[in-house]
Assembly symmetry: C2
Amino acid sequence: MSMLKIATKRKTARKFKTAPINEDDIKYILETAIQAPSGSNTQPWRFIVVSDPDKKHRIREAAEKGEQAFYESISEERKKRYNAMGLSPAKPMLTEAPVLIVVLGDTTAPNYKPSVWVSIAYAILAVEERGLASVTYTPSDPVLVTEAVMAPDNFLVESILPLGYSDDPKKKADRKGLSELAFRDKWGVNFE
Amino acid sequence: MSMLKIATKRKTARKFKTAPINEDDIKYILETAIQAPSGSNTQPWRFIVVSDPDKKHRIREAAEKGEQAFYESISEERKKRYNAMGLSPAKPMLTEAPVLIVVLGDTTAPNYKPSVWVSIAYAILAVEERGLASVTYTPSDPVLVTEAVMAPDNFLVESILPLGYSDDPKKKADRKGLSELAFRDKWGVNFE
């Protein structure tokens, strides 16, 4: 399948079947992710593949604690917008998905975040190719989740990718066209 | 070609042939990039496709001004490490590559950076698939480059992707294995 086809087909899932997934698929996804480029080749990404129910539960609790504090901090308007999108502090996907890939960044590597996110993007395209689904969930309080997975001090959770077969009927959100997003030679001159 | 093959084959180029590239390829790369997921589907990415020599020159000047200031600010040790990797404040690739894709982020979208970098990752994999090459160059002073492309105040340059046929003989930098980068259920328990 072409890159454009995989990218177009790939959509976010927030509900997952509890069916287990293949070890081969997990390995394939990680092997793809670690091929990403990184500043000065620091490879500032680490992955914890979590399938143990107790550990998933602990991660979910830490994540939800952070989400609750976040929801209490935002405006009523923004809260309404999130509710309308079906978002809330509850993150059942973190225990329902058969596997979580917890992605951490090495905070001592200069400008590590872009590299980690390129690697996450490689991963989610490999997820799609393998017929699986995910969402790049970014905890509102990454420190709480980092503590829950007991990572060393210089690492910080960037994202959790719940991984499984999609049980999410939601269609892929519409994308704007290149006429809105791309310009030619200067801002304001439409690409097409 | 599988995702793993494209990801593995893809390597950074910092030297480019001056040969022009196909419009079709540019469009394909952008169409792939805009399929990326983004927080609340804000699609906080914009792309300026620059082929005009004067405009490339202006971008290079702005970028190099930022690099010079950065190099003056870092330790001698770090400077030596960069020199050993062939990095310097001079960025000839910004005028030599036939096309630059300037990628900007909408700074008003919450947590826009991860989304923009996922979209950049989609783009560079499409670049590889099309037989082209790129590097995710991040200007040390993005404000200078943002001014050079005259983007509105709420946008900031995240990266410039010089785009063309590779003229860079450098091999892909080695990657660590999953045994160093991935764990199972908890930090320190090797994935394999």
